[in-house]
Subunit: 447 residues, 2 copies
């Protein structure tokens, strides 16, 4: 028996707007940030769970405060009562009738719940001595179903539908776990494609991606049509016919413009078109998907919750689902999202990059392979080689693949020295910056 | 020339959960609250603008902090530069590329922008010496269009569509303004219908509503089907055949259950069915509307932004649009919402109640009559007789109508003594409460 004795929140920001590594059509100058939470127990020795929300700078203080308010309600609570009933814990937080008014189930308050939930999953996995993907993969179908809130989903997927997906995946679990340990999970890289890069740099980075063994790349588009055509031609020439190249417009278009613009890029045989328009717009995505078919529409990194994902699937508005580890209310809601995708027969290719999104979301894809979809076909996880050095157990990505993590936990833990150095605004990495720290240089951007 | 010299934010809460006046199917015990903002200038004499976000208790601290972070960026800025270009100001806040990550355009961060925008509208209207509805109503079509962000709307309503709506309403503006001053705008009351009331109290309050001149009432439903039938029978018997009675399920159902349940209530000739399911679920509302037609589906108090409203209209998923004064990013976004509704030919009947929502939203309906739809047909504004005494210029509702406000401003200003007394948790109304203050008594609920 142990209690939660302390919660600590940290407004952690990296001055990435100072660098010149890329930019996209909507995010010219992000400072990659994490609203970071540590939940500590009074166990002997004390243990802890870590979770966070990724943001891109301004507003990380708001997100941090939201996490603090919710996390402080945990102090004094029994740890085992929480981690033995993670489904009940999730519902308690998400269904809080007063707090729910702030969303419901979207934005700052919902993401804050995600950080709290994920910190408890990190703690649970550490206590189990397992990486999160293995812990989830070893739960049985009913235990997994109990983690998920099916409210508002029944007109697409019933509890019976979800249970039968999980039951079907029972067979072969051990072999799939071993397969992940032996050969990992396909990664793709967004590194070559930031809008701010010169043609020469784009060409060089495409060649490097091939040399490193990546089997898919992604380019940012949407700022200038002729630039997009020229850059895609460079990438296609280097990568060769048939090599998967995806594009990402970061919400830049209205729907008619999207269809027209994408039409001009069709000759490049696109793997998918990502975020063509507002992430809230199911009907616009459905229209775009209809008109660019068979090229798939991909979206999800800004998809607020499972209810919106459900509608995207109902309306054939996406054909690649890009879950994000910190956009929704944590692991539980992403299990719902994986189930919805499996029910629709749509592959999940998570969004990653930022701060620690790769570290977190790899667990969801690997769990999906083990216990939900049972497949790695047409599936891959985004990879951006950035800020991994700050994590206690950084991702192992090489030869174009994510290699299955073996360290216990959810992968969220950032090194103490980083938490000190990059705390905003008082950490030494911020106080020692030249005055240009907040300058508007085009810089590292959202994946 | 003046500058913004100070911003003050207050976490204001009313211990409404202590009373027993009503409850609904999703909100058993709200403490009506406002995350409140005062923007003060260095003009001589100093003037100020007031704005807020309505919440129902826990989380009001998160909302207040979000407003503080955004409002503090205004300190030192030129007031006239802002209030002379309210469209540019809105876009500057909403399109901030880093802050946008927290939504985009939804939840805590978006509502916080709404409070800031509305405070500047309050200041602008006070300086103009006009109530907000008159100020907006006296702007010309191009000036009004410049207030609105049309991004992501063009597949339903183009800039030309919006402009022609506004131009068409130019004719007769002065007469409609006078009509509002002479006979006000229809109100309807939710007071009789809270779930927690006895049948006797329901009957008494229905009779009182009739006596007070209301021409529509609304009942909460969704907790128990037999209770709903019995309560509707009581209300119908008292109000008589043909009297408009709406019902509100506060998001309680999945879509199939909604259709089935509403079918059992059809004999009562419902004016509308409000919030049958998740406010994010365009497709479920469309399904429900199709199956309960000709009874209208009404929703909107939790509708996160204009992009979602657009989809509800595209999909025939609502036939009564219920804008809320503090759910979206302020007056500007609600003008977009009014334009979308006018373009679709759907009446707007705003959500109100809570803290000050009546005071704020009456301006939007009256402006709609003057300069957008040009019609009061099938339109009314919700009224709950609660907490108005705390406002400097409370609504004037009698004889079943909202009477047009004449005081300069947006109606948001709360009395200084209330701001002191109900500040949470340090105000005397909280420190002097018995220990039961946070008890879970069924209580006053969301409208």
């Amino acid at each position: 028996m142990s209690q939660i004795s302390e919660v600590e929140v940290i407004d952690l920001r990296f001055p990435t707007s100072l660098s010149l590594d890329g930019s996209d059509a909507m995010n010219p100058d992000p400072d990659y940030s994490a609203a970071y939470l540590i939940v500590t127990t009074d166990a002997a020795p004390a243990d802890s769970g870590h979770g966070f929300v990724f943001t891109i700078g301004r507003g990380n203080d708001i997100q941090t405060e939201a996490i603090r308010v919710i996390a402080e309600t945990l102090i004094g609570r029994n740890v085992e009562a929480i981690i033995d009933d993670m489904g009940g814990f999730w519902k308690e937080l998400v269904h809080d009738s007063q707090m729910r008014w702030l969303g419901p189930e979207k934005g700052v308050s919902h993401m804050a719940i995600g950080a709290v939930v994920n910190a408890m999953w990190d703690l649970k996995a550490k206590r189990a001595g397992m990486p999160l993907w293995e812990l989830l993969g070893s739960m049985n179908p009913q235990e997994l179903l109990d983690l998920v809130d099916l409210r508002y989903l029944s007109d697409f997927m019933t509890a019976d539908d979800a249970l039968s997906i999980l039951q079907k995946a029972e067979s072969g679990k051990a072999a799939r776990m071993q397969e992940l340990r032996d050969r990992g999970y396909m990664a793709y890289t967004t590194s070559p494609g930031w809008l701010g890069y010169s043609d020469e740099k784009l060409a060089r980075l495409c060649r490097e991606a091939l040399d490193e063994g990546f089997e898919q790349i992604k380019l940012k588009v949407g700022a200038n049509r002729n630039d997009d055509i020229r850059r895609l031609r460079i990438a296609r020439d280097i990568c060769g016919e048939g090599f998967p190249i995806a594009i990402d417009a970061n919400q830049h278009w209205d729907s008619a413009e999207a269809v027209d613009w994408i039409g001009d890029l069709a000759e490049f045989d696109l793997r998918w078109v990502e975020e063509p328009t507002s992430p809230d717009d199911v009907l616009a995505h459905s229209y775009i998907q209809k008109h660019i078919s068979p090229t798939p529409v991909a979206t999800g990194e800004h998809c607020q919750n499972r209810i919106l994902f459900k509608q995207f699937l109902q309306a054939d508005a996406l054909r690649v689902m890009q879950i994000d580890a910190t956009r929704v209310a944590g692991v539980n809601e992403n299990i719902a999202n994986l189930l919805l995708a499996a029910h629709a027969g749509v592959p999940v290719c998570p969004h990653a990059g930022g701060v620690g999104l790769c570290e977190l979301v790899q667990h969801m894809s690997m769990f999906d392979f083990v216990a939900v979809s049972g497949s790695m076909d047409d599936r891959c996880i985004e990879f951006v080689d950035h800020l991994h050095e700050h994590f206690v157990t950084p991702v192992d990505v090489h030869s174009g693949r994510y290699w299955a993590p073996s360290a216990p936990g959810a992968g969220a833990e950032i090194k103490p020295e980083t938490l000190h150095a990059f705390a905003f605004p008082e950490g030494p990495k911020w106080t020692e910056l030249p005055d240009t720290a907040d300058a508007k240089a085009p810089a590292e951007a959202s994946a």
